[in-house]
């Protein structure tokens, strides 16, 4: 046994070194951040608000006022085909065929009964409905994870924002979003996305799309507040989210989604 001791020690030392090396590599710089008392207090207070979105596809009439308002409120080139929010139209025929479109992102509403160039007679339509889409402000946003320079980030209220002065325009975040909620701002040449109208919510206003929806199909709420009407619906009714399988934990909840919705 005595003979083995130096070897054991040597081994122990080796293992220790390896472990420390692995730990040093594995820990991100964030792990070294130690919260002071005031910071810790601020952190607790800050988590009192987490914005979520609720879309009722039963109610949406496809008027497109949300898209129109969003583009004007957020200064997104009006005639560009890209948009922070958009409305999709689904027509499921009785033979099971599904037709989908979103002309001009739904900015001008749906004023033509023809979809994908097909005029479907009402007798052949099994289901027809509209699905408004926007950034899901995911709890695990893959778009933020992949930004190489820290130009996009999530704030304590859960909203993912883009730093227009720091974005290098590589497009990685656009590729990483499973919902295609991102695009390049055609005028500023930086990544662009919905931020639940952060400039409005900080002032106590509702996002432009919510305010301008005539039928209440779009609502915003604070999931941390049990008395919030949106929270009540999310907690008590049968809601679903889009593309849950990607593990992004999306925070835009939907009522009345169909399996044909992409």
């Amino acid at each position: 046994m005595e003979n083995n001791e130096p070897v054991d020690q040597e081994r122990r030392k080796f293992i220790k070194t390896v472990c420390m090396g692995v730990a040093a590599v594995a820990l991100s710089p964030a792990a070294f951040k130690i919260l002071g008392p005031s910071e810790a207090l601020a952190f607790v207070q800050n988590t009192k608000r987490r914005w979520v979105f609720l879309v009722d596809t039963n109610k949406c009439i496809g008027c497109g006022f949300c898209v129109k308002a969003c583009k004007q409120e957020n200064e997104i080139a009006y005639d560009a085909p890209v948009s922070r929010t958009w409305v999709e139209r689904y027509v499921v025929k009785k033979d099971g065929d599904t037709l989908i479109d979103s002309p001009k992102a739904g900015r001008d509403g749906f004023i033509d009964a023809a979809i994908e160039g097909q005029a479907v007679p009402p007798s052949e339509i099994a289901k027809g409905f509209f699905v408004p889409k926007l950034c899901n402000q995911c709890e695990n946003p893959p778009c933020v994870q992949v930004c190489p320079v820290g130009a996009t980030y999530q704030i304590k209220e859960g909203i993912v924002m883009v730093d227009r002065k720091w974005c290098i325009g590589c497009g990685y975040c656009i590729e990483a979003c499973p919902y295609s909620a991102r695009f390049f701002n055609p005028e500023l040449k930086v990544a662009e996305k919905c931020n639940f109208c952060y400039h409005r919510t900080v002032k106590g206003l509702k996002p432009a799309c919510v305010q301008n929806c005539p039928v209440g199909a779009r609502q915003i709420g604070n999931i941390k507040d049990p008395d919030d009407p949106v929270t009540k619906i999310v907690l008590n009714e049968r809601v679903s989210v889009l593309k849950e399988e990607y593990g992004t934990d999306p925070q835009a909840y939907y009522l009345g989604l169909d399996r044909s919705v992409r």
Partner: protein, 402 residues
């Protein structure tokens, strides 16, 4: 508005059926060029390291050339990214505020490290030459000679000792650098594969095999380009048939090329078979892309012309110069098509899985954007390493003379 507002991507994307409004082919030809170029860098370096690390004497003649060529390629490798960026003037942020959870953030670190290793390796190999040149040029007339003398003097970094011991030390360090360079080169290219393989939103890209496939195909393309370019230079210099020595070196290199090629083909086939066999939800749309939309560029261009034909050519003995030139050209084309099929093919379908996007490469540019992201931008990138190489050749001899 005075300027027409053009959405990035709209000039080369044609949509079919239902595609989300914000979806375009955002990663165009320059993102095809980027892994292609870094792949060439890594491959050329691997070839040179086969000699420096594993002492493959028969590769000696082509090894030095490969190292310098790898260096020339290295200068051009980040340029596709630069041309692709919408805000190229902010590129330094990748070095200053790297967000390491992003694969692209690794670029600054890995590229710089690799650049340092290759430069140092070249310095140790050519230090003796720098010293000899600087000494020989002393007292020679003419400003050009004096400028050259000063340049070589600076390049020696003040290390003038070229005695036996000093040179032996150089060789030792060269070997260490060459061996550390291999993993770094693999990492440089592996992370390029990781950039794609880790995008969970994209069913075509997301596979852990992606970095491995990228590394192996990198070795294939880099070795093929070195063989091709080296042979052409030698053919041009000797004015007639290739010297026996050079032909032997090239033949030896093709053996390694074959090994890597077989690996690359196996991995790519494994990936495709696996996708078809497991047939996950996304397979429906992937199948229509692979077997219908991109059938020609995947099966005819990449697998048949780029893999199968050169494989058969290289397997048939004896290896003539003509066969080698044809095979390596086809292989380079095949690897390029593989990058194309990954990058463009990965964006050929909508994330809604209900529609398709077709890429139309801008041929004749009508704006800076269509130049950068078009055929001419890609050709500019391809030409640059050769220009760098000829410039480097003025400073240091890369080809053995005897």
């Amino acid at each position: 508005m005075i300027h027409p507002v053009i959405v990035h991507g709209s000039e080369w994307t044609v949509k079919e059926l239902f595609v989300y409004p914000n979806e375009y082919i955002y990663w165009g030809i320059q993102i095809v060029m980027y892994p292609f170029m870094t792949g060439l860098v890594a491959g050329a370096f691997v070839l040179s390291s086969l000699y420096h690390v594993f002492a493959r004497q028969e590769l000696k003649r082509i090894a030095k050339f490969s190292l310098i060529f790898s260096f020339a390629l290295l200068w051009a490798a980040p340029l596709p990214l630069l041309l692709h960026l919408q805000q190229p003037l902010r590129c330094e942020e990748v070095f200053f505020t790297p967000h390491f959870t992003s694969a692209i953030a690794a670029f600054g670190m890995v590229y710089s490290l690799y650049f340092a290793i290759v430069s140092m390796e070249i310095w140790f190999i050519y230090r003796r030459y720098f010293v000899e040149q600087a000494k020989a040029l002393v007292g020679r007339k003419g400003w050009l000679n004096q400028a050259r003398r000063v340049t070589y003097g600076v390049l020696t970094l003040g290390a003038w000792d070229i005695g036996h011991d000093a040179i032996e030390k150089d060789e030792k360090v060269t070997k260490i650098l060459a061996s550390t360079g291999i993993p770094v080169a693999c990492f440089l290219h592996g992370y390029a594969g990781f950039i794609f393989g880790s995008v969970k939103a994209n069913a075509m890209w997301m596979t852990p095999l992606m970095p491995v496939i990228f590394i192996v195909s990198a070795a294939v393309s880099g070795i093929a380009l070195c063989i091709l370019f080296y042979s052409l230079i030698n053919l041009w210099r000797s004015k007639s048939a290739m010297p026996k020595k050079e032909l032997d070196a090239v033949r030896m290199a093709t053996k390694y090329l074959l090994i890597f090629l077989v690996f690359a083909i196996s991995l790519e086939l494994l990936d495709m078979v696996f996708r078809g066999y497991t047939a996950m939800k996304s397979w429906n749309i992937l199948r229509s892309v692979i077997y219908e939309k991109d059938f020609l560029s995947i099966f005819l261009f990449q697998y048949f012309c780029g893999n199968l034909v050169p494989l058969i050519i290289l397997l048939r003995k004896p290896l003539s110069m003509g066969k080698i030139l044809t095979a390596t050209t086809l292989i380079l084309f095949g690897v390029f098509m593989m990058r194309w099929n990954v990058v463009i093919g990965g964006q050929a379908f909508s994330l809604s899985w209900a529609g398709f996007m077709h890429f139309e490469l801008p041929i004749i540019p009508h704006s800076l954007e269509t130049y950068k992201e078009g055929l001419l931008g890609a050709l500019t990138i391809i030409m640059l390493p050769f220009l760098f190489f000829f410039a480097l050749n003025k400073l240091i001899p890369t080809l053995e003379k005897d």
